[in-house]
Symmetry: C2
Subunit: 144 residues, 2 copies
DNA sequence: CCTTGACTTAGAGTCAACTCTAGGATTTAC
DNA sequence: GTAAATCCTAGAGTTGACTCTAAGTCAAGG
């Protein structure tokens, strides 16, 4: 209920985070090594085990979305660096996000075009099979 | 104008095909080795140079669409095998295409969701910058 | 005829993004 | 108290899809 975003923050083990994000524990260690997290070093508990917070989980969920839309890890690292630097570079963050947004729009257009072509081909084969036309159609792959 | 699809068929060098498909000559040789073409072996001219036809170009353009929509080369190879086998396996080809069609639809849904999230984040940063609010907002990355 | 550019093969190298292994240390459940 | 599960580090291995290299052969323009 507190308006300030600094609540108790139950700490999470790497296994918990893996479960909540769908990333493997291997991938999570790799992400830390690669500087993709919000802190350069995930704090460790007494026994040396990583202690993540729910902020980390939120960040990783965002990373998953960025990855799923084709952003390379190198670009995510750059974004993480900007966030780690703290306030002052918001314009640069915006630029990075907008560049990616444009890419995603391109991808969407391309994917829709692919879908159109595949759907047409599916239609041709459906037709062909429905006709029961065992006619050796010259080469169905070249149609249209 | 001939209704039968077997016209003169000017032959094309690997360089011509590369230019027309956007694939590199290296990739084209690789595709042949991997059994992704309509014939197991692209015929060679007297000097041992590959001679492609416009059918090959059409096929490769389709392959590009399938690849661009995330079909792995192994799956394209399977499709190529079915086409090489000739008539009789149309149902199997249709199944393969429909499976891919479904995947593309999933991808489209996922990509749209990513786009929505990125757009929201872009909106937050735009707002923040427009407000000229140099207020050290706690952590903009965690917003919403 | 000769040079330049395109082509040939076989095989090695690259890149991103993990994924796995070895050899231990720590934590948790009974 | 102990066994099983989970965690640690450092580093090697994997996968897919090319991409490049070496050491030539072939073809086209002047």
């Amino acid at each position: 209920m507190s308006a300030l975003g600094t609540e108790p923050e139950a700490e999470l083990s790497i296994g918990d985070v893996a479960e909540q994000t769908g990333l493997s524990v291997h991938a999570l260690r790799y992400y830390e090594r690669e500087g993709l997290m919000l802190t350069r070093h995930i704090p460790r508990g007494t026994g040396g085990h990583r202690r993540y917070t729910s902020m980390d989980v939120k960040w990783l969920v965002l990373c998953n979305k960025l990855r799923a839309s084709g952003m390379p890890l190198a670009r995510i690292r750059r974004y993480a660096e900007l966030v780690r630097e703290g306030p002052g570079n918001e314009q640069e963050r915006l630029d990075l996000l907008q560049e990616h947004q444009a890419r995603v729009e391109q991808q969407l257009a391309e994917l829709k075009e692919c879908h159109r072509i595949i759907t047409r081909k599916v239609g041709i084969y459906r037709q062909h099979l429905a006709d029961d036309s065992t006619q050796d159609l010259w080469n169905i792959t070249a149609q249209r």
